[in-house]
Symmetry: C2
Subunit: 219 residues, 2 copies
DNA sequence: TTTTATTTTTAGCCATGTCTAAATTAATAT
DNA sequence: ATATTAATTTAGACATGGCTAAAAATAAAA
């Protein structure tokens, strides 16, 4: 059985190696688990002994097959709890991450399977991230970031690739949420900002940073 | 903020001093938190320094006002989660304790208040134990243990004072659950067992131990 | 290709919460 | 009242997970 700390390290390595296609560096992991590089070295050595990760001195860490399985189950638990918090308890989407961060450490397969059923076996969490099934398979979706679209194209928001509270609150204030439909009205060259029509009613301008963090599906 | 361990000690002392009307002994606490007496001595000394308990060498521990407040909130969380597990996730009542034992350590007042609302502000948990409200007030009920009743009296099961899995499964097998109505048919002197009519249909014999752990309300 | 800067590791230390064994105090029985 | 038993505390140790400061390895720049 894993400790909380071990679980957090596995999840960090999962997320880092998922984004970049190479091993997770000590510093990057330290940033994710909010600790010092020295502590990370200690911990990843222990995880390597337990064969949860592959680790070579000075070359970072990647998950072993077992470690990957465990990390995936954590992601599953985290995202299911987020759905519970938003759908059932009506939490706003910017508040669910921290609570789910604690809930994900509860250990009970029966609990998670019943929760999954109770929620109607959701495929995506409140931020649009896919929820792996009990076997660890993720559902993929063809999506792109909004800044890639051309003037005139229409799309629907299916996810956000940043979960920070200020970013999500910014979207709230623009009345943008998952499912919102957009039409690209204009793209400004000098700062890459975009003029957008939201739900066929109001127009807003999005900075490149914002557009880059919006995951959309063409319609 | 409290650690898991500290929370478990406070809860243990709460339960012990709730039952007996005197301070919780080192050994008793050790039994509740499943550790050695030496470890308990260590921990209660720390808790005393933090003024969460009153402690005098060789004389056991009682909760301070602050400690009592914290313990009560833990009980509240535990019991609300038990309701969630039974009512929403349809867990059988003998399986919820262990899971709630983990869930109760999640720290979020917003979460608990929303959960309380979501569940319809229940006053009692699946074993019939009262759930303190956000201010820590318990709802009391006039109840007695079934072994106190006389032949001919009728009652309804409103709680169980033992939560062990075998005991609860035994009740399952007898089709006895909260809300079940009984009539006392006979009391046997030599072993204090009782002959009972359950829900006006089947008759069963309950040992004194079982009857003593059934909390009932006369009707 | 050296020098410099950055990253990673090692070494030594600390707090938490546990343990066993031994010592001390309290309770019980003769 | 004293001896025995039981309960409690102390002492010393260990595992986990964190820290800082210094050393070593790698990467970047001159």
């Amino acid at each position: 059985m894993l400790t909380h700390a071990e679980e957090n390290y596995l999840k960090a390595i999962f997320k880092i190696t998922e984004r970049q296609n190479k091993s997770a560096s000590t510093n990057k992991i330290a940033e994710y688990v909010n600790t010092s590089a020295a502590s990370v070295t200690d911990m990843i050595q222990k995880l390597a002994v337990k064969e949860l990760i592959h680790y070579e001195k000075y070359k970072g860490a990647t998950l072993s097959e077992v470690g990957n399985k465990l990390a995936t189950q954590l992601i599953r638990k985290h995202r299911l709890w987020e759905v519970f918090l938003c759908d059932k308890l009506k939490f706003p989407w910017e508040e669910v991450h921290d609570i789910a961060e604690e809930l994900e450490h509860i250990n009970s397969a029966a609990l998670i399977n019943r929760l999954d059923n109770f929620l109607g076996n959701p495929r995506f969490d409140p931020h649009g991230d896919p929820i792996p099934n009990a076997e660890g398979k993720f559902m993929l979706r063809n999506q792109s970031t909004m800044d890639n679209l051309q003037v005139g194209q229409k799309c629907v928001l299916v996810g956000v690739s940043q979960h920070s509270v200020p970013f999500l609150q910014h979207l709230n204030s623009l009345k943008i949420k998952l499912g919102t439909a957009f039409k690209i009205l204009d793209k400004l060259d000098f700062d890459k900002s975009m003029k957008i029509e939201v739900d066929s009613v109001n127009q807003v301008t999005l900075s490149h940073t914002v557009a880059n963090n919006l995951l959309v599906k063409l319609i």
